[in-house]
C-alpha cells in the first residue's frame, strides 16, 4: 500500500481533475521544482495509484443521449459459465462497464444508447440474448457526479 503525503494528495487531486497539466505548472502551483514534481507523479504511476488516464467526452454531443444501468441476474446458476457470460457481455460496444457484484444482482452494466428506442434494441437483441442472462433491472441515469474521494 502506498502512503501519501500532503503534496502527493494535492497532486493526485489536481491530476484527477485535469491530467494534461504539466509537471512544471503543477510544481509552480504547489511550490515544488519541475523535476521534483515529475518524480512524484512518476512514483504515483509506478505504484499503480494512478492507473491511467481517461478521456472525458461529451456523450450527448456525440449523440449518446441515454445512459442506463442494468442489474443482471444469471439464470440457472451453476449451469452457465460465468466466463462465457463475461466474455459475451464485455464484447458489446454499447456496454461501457461490467462489474461483478454480490447482492441483489450478479452483474452491473453501464450501457450507452442514442435514445430510449435504441436502448430497447440493445436490451432485446444484445443483452437478453446473452448466455445465462436472467432477470434484468434497468435504471435510467439522470445525473452523475464524481467526487475527489478521501485524499482531500
Amino acid at each position: 500500500m502506498t502512503e501519501l503525503d500532503e503534496i502527493d494528495r494535492k497532486l493526485l487531486r489536481a491530476l484527477a481533475q485535469d491530467a494534461t497539466q504539466s509537471a512544471g505548472a503543477l510544481g509552480r502551483r504547489f511550490g515544488l521544482s519541475q523535476p521534483a514534481t515529475w518524480r512524484r507523479i512518476r512514483r504515483l504511476e509506478e505504484a499503480g495509484v494512478i492507473k491511467g488516464r481517461r478521456l472525458r467526452l461529451n456523450a450527448e454531443a456525440l449523440g449518446f443521449g441515454v445512459t442506463v444501468f442494468l442489474g443482471v441476474k444469471l439464470a440457472r446458476k451453476g449451469r452457465v459459465s460465468l466466463e462465457d457470460f463475461e466474455r459475451a457481455v464485455s464484447a458489446i460496444p454499447e456496454v461501457q462497464t461490467v462489474e461483478h457484484v454480490l447482492g441483489l444482482y450478479d452483474y452491473r452494466l453501464r450501457v450507452v444508447a442514442r435514445d430510449l428506442s435504441d436502448f430497447e434494441r440493445i436490451l432485446r437483441r444484445r443483452i437478453m440474448t446473452l448466455p445465462g442472462a436472467g432477470e434484468v433491472e434497468a435504471n435510467v441515469l439522470l445525473s452523475e457526479e464524481r467526487l475527489p474521494g478521501p485524499i482531500g
Binding site: L15, T97, H100, R146
Partner: protein, 151 residues
C-alpha cells in the same frame, strides 16, 4: 457533425489518452497537422472535455467498494437535495448518481476493510437524511471499465 476521421481519432484517443498528437496521427494514418486541428476543433465544440487521471483506490489501501442503492422518502420535497448535499460531505463517497427507475440515488462508497465499511455505514450513511430504503451491492471485480463511447 463528425466525419470518419474524427471518429477514428476519438477511437484511438479513447483507447490511450496519453498518446502524443504525433503518435495519435500515426495510428489514425493522417498527418499530425490534420490530427491536431481536428482535436482542437472537437475541444472547441465541447466534444472533448478533457482528461482525468484514474485513481486506483485499492492501491491506496481502500480494498472495499460498495454500491449503495438508495430509495428516498419522496413525500419530503427536498429529499434529493438534502440527501445529495449531505452525501457529498462524506469523503469515502466517490460517486453520486441519480436515476429514473426503481432506484433513486446510487452512492459508490470505498472503505479500507469490512470493519471500516461497517463503521462508515452506521455513522455516516444511515444518518443521511430522507432514506426510505437502502440496498448494498459489494464489488467483486471490474471486468470492463474503460467507459469508452462506441463512436
Amino acid at each position: 457533425m463528425l466525419d470518419d476521421i474524427d471518429r477514428r481519432i476519438l477511437r484511438h484517443y479513447q483507447a490511450d489518452p496519453s498518446l502524443s498528437a504525433g503518435e495519435l496521427a500515426e495510428r489514425c494514418r493522417i498527418t499530425s497537422g490534420v490530427c491536431w486541428r481536428r482535436i482542437e476543433k472537437m475541444q472547441a465544440a465541447g466534444i472533448i472535455q478533457g482528461q482525468e487521471a484514474v485513481i486506483d483506490w485499492a492501491a491506496l489501501g481502500f480494498a472495499v467498494e460498495v454500491s449503495l442503492r438508495v430509495t428516498l422518502d419522496k413525500t419530503q420535497p427536498r429529499a434529493f437535495d438534502d440527501f445529495i448535499e449531505a452525501a457529498r460531505k462524506v469523503p469515502e463517497v466517490i460517486e453520486i448518481q441519480t436515476f429514473l427507475g426503481r432506484v433513486d440515488v446510487r452512492l459508490s462508497v470505498i472503505a479500507r476493510d469490512m470493519a471500516h465499511y461497517q463503521q462508515l455505514y452506521r455513522d455516516r450513511i444511515l444518518t443521511l437524511p430522507h432514506i426510505a430504503d437502502i440496498e448494498a451491492l459489494m464489488h467483486i471485480a471490474r471486468l470492463k471499465r474503460d467507459e469508452v463511447l462506441p463512436v
